[in-house]
């Protein structure tokens, strides 16, 4: 856990570095991870600046230019209602980033405490929680999200909540496993001996130590949230037309696959690139935080 700092004209000096800084130093050398970070930052900026950089209004209908192929004024072409695809893809970045973040916030805020308390207490509460987690994980992938949407009704906010709920058991199981091994360690013992209560032990001593795996999982979870949201939008269960959401855009354009391949190509490329960014970043962070890989 040391870093060598170059002092001007002096001998290298050994200083202590924080864990985050060490992880960053490690991560910085991972080109794929940096590429991922770059992609995500790019899409974040695009999403934030959408009103400024979009060349057209993403909701402006122009039937005369329906399904127009890419031209210099609209390089991604136009969709079935003559709306500018580039502007719609740019606005879509906004929605997809938001979905990813909200879903992960729901998953982390519910799943992490649930997993930590379940693992710390053990016994009956643990058993019950884990059976509920079992049942939730018994629905493969997008299916549980579909079930929840069937209850809440179709729409973007409902889809976000559904995707968030789906990620709760993932965090609960992950953090529970970590807690089980942490709870047996000496520093937790020491905290208990000094009279710390359950809340303090779990939230001050155990949870910070699970942060690394939670961060890695969250990065990958954003990727899967964006994919699931797009899937729901595509099936007509998520964002509804005319919302400029990538999945919903694909759903509208798919009937014109023959006439206007561009309307199908670009939203999908946007989804793939964003998800790829988060996957690369997740892999990079995992490598950086993995103690076995550390110098």
């Amino acid at each position: 856990m040391i870093e060598i700092e170059q002092g001007a004209g002096r001998r290298p000096q050994v200083v202590r570095a924080s864990r985050a800084k060490l992880a960053w130093l490690q991560f910085r050398r991972n080109r794929a991870g940096l590429l991922g970070l770059g992609i995500i930052c790019g899409f974040l900026v695009i999403g934030l600046l959408a009103p400024v950089i979009a060349p057209h209004d993403p909701y402006e209908v122009d039937f005369e230019r329906s399904l127009q192929r890419p031209v210099s004024g609209s390089p991604f072409g136009r969709d079935e209602l003559g709306r500018d695809m580039l502007s719609r893809v740019i606005y879509g970045a906004r929605i997809s980033m938001m979905i990813g973040v909200i879903a992960v916030v729901i998953g982390v805020s519910m799943g992490v405490p649930l997993g930590a308390l379940s693992g710390y207490y053990g016994g009956l509460p643990d058993l019950l929680t884990q059976r509920v987690v079992d049942v939730m994980l018994a629905f493969p992938g997008v299916l549980l999200a579909i079930v929840i949407v069937a209850v809440l009704g179709v729409g973007l906010p409902q889809a976000m909540i559904a995707i968030g709920i789906v990620s709760i058991p993932v965090y609960a199981r992950l953090v529970r496993g970590q807690t089980l091994s942490l709870r047996a360690q000496e520093f937790v013992e020491a905290a208990r001996a000094m009279g710390a209560g359950v809340g303090r032990i779990v939230f001050r001593h155990i949870l910070p130590n699970t942060l690394a795996v939670v961060i890695v999982q969250s990065t990958l979870q954003v990727a899967s949230a964006i994919l699931t949201a797009a899937a729901l939008g595509f099936l007509g269960l998520g964002a509804q037309p005319p919302t400029a959401e990538w999945g919903a855009m694909l759903s509208g354009a798919r009937q014109y696959l023959r006439l206007a391949p561009h309307a199908v190509t670009f939203p999908g490329l946007a989804i793939m690139t964003t998800v790829l960014g988060f996957n690369l970043l997740g892999d990079g962070i995992r490598d950086a935080l993995d103690p076995k890989m550390r110098l």
Binding site: A223, T265, G268
Partner: protein
Amino acid sequence: MWSYIAKRLLLAVPVIIGVAFIVFAMVRLIPGDPAMVIAGQAATPEYIAAIREDMGLDRPLLVQFGLYFKNLAVGDLGRSIRSKAPVTEEIWARLPNTFRLATASMLVAASVGVGAGIVSAIRPYSLLDAAVMVAALAGLSMPIFWSGLMMILVFSVILGWFPAFGTGSLAHLVLPSVTLGMTSAAIIARMTRSSMLEVLRTDYIRTARAKGQVERVVIGSHAFRNALIPVITVIGLQTGTLLSGAVLTESVFAWPGVGRLLVEGILTRDYPVVQGSVLVVAFVFVFVNLAVDILYAVADPRIHYT
């Protein structure tokens, strides 16, 4: 080992009951009156009352719950609101299609994934390895419904090699199964590569090479067999990916499977159909996972289960 199998079977029971309970609660949790939601806004009060009675929604909750489990036990999933046919029949008619798609996809995923993983591991950090790993990561990041549309565009619209929609011939199966298998192939390739690389570092591989064993045997027999166990685990875990992917793939390729039945059910508010198909897909998932776990116990004599 028998006690392990018995234990796993017993542990599956609460999961199955839980799944059945969630599906039961699903319709009852719909905000407002589910019968009204199902009937739509323009429905007459008589029609709404008929649906309510038909689904047993007019009875006390506890009675509904009992009836639901009683019917479930004899395989009665109710009747479709749209077609009036028993849901069980509709699902039975579609299930073989979903299994056919899933099996073909699994074959694609396992052969492409394992093959690509080995090729990558033989020359790690080479250009070929980098290409395979980039392709795998791209495969992981691609939305399955989009790759399906792109497949249709390239191989059906432009090249005209395969039909884009429907079932019937083996040619109909090609595009959907490749689409569905791609994500899993990517995951399997990554796992095969890392597992192979780990094994290739071991002493017995060095011994095999030192004694002059030809490389083909070292890779194919010594390394691959030992690298296979985590790979099989991952292949087993892919059933979930395949089942949920089937919902999307079937929608893209108009494949008449259970996944499409489910989506149509939700869009037309045909809740008995939704309940039935969710239940069937989740049950299949639980049982396949169970079967995979039990197969390990049978297949790998080194692992002891208690």
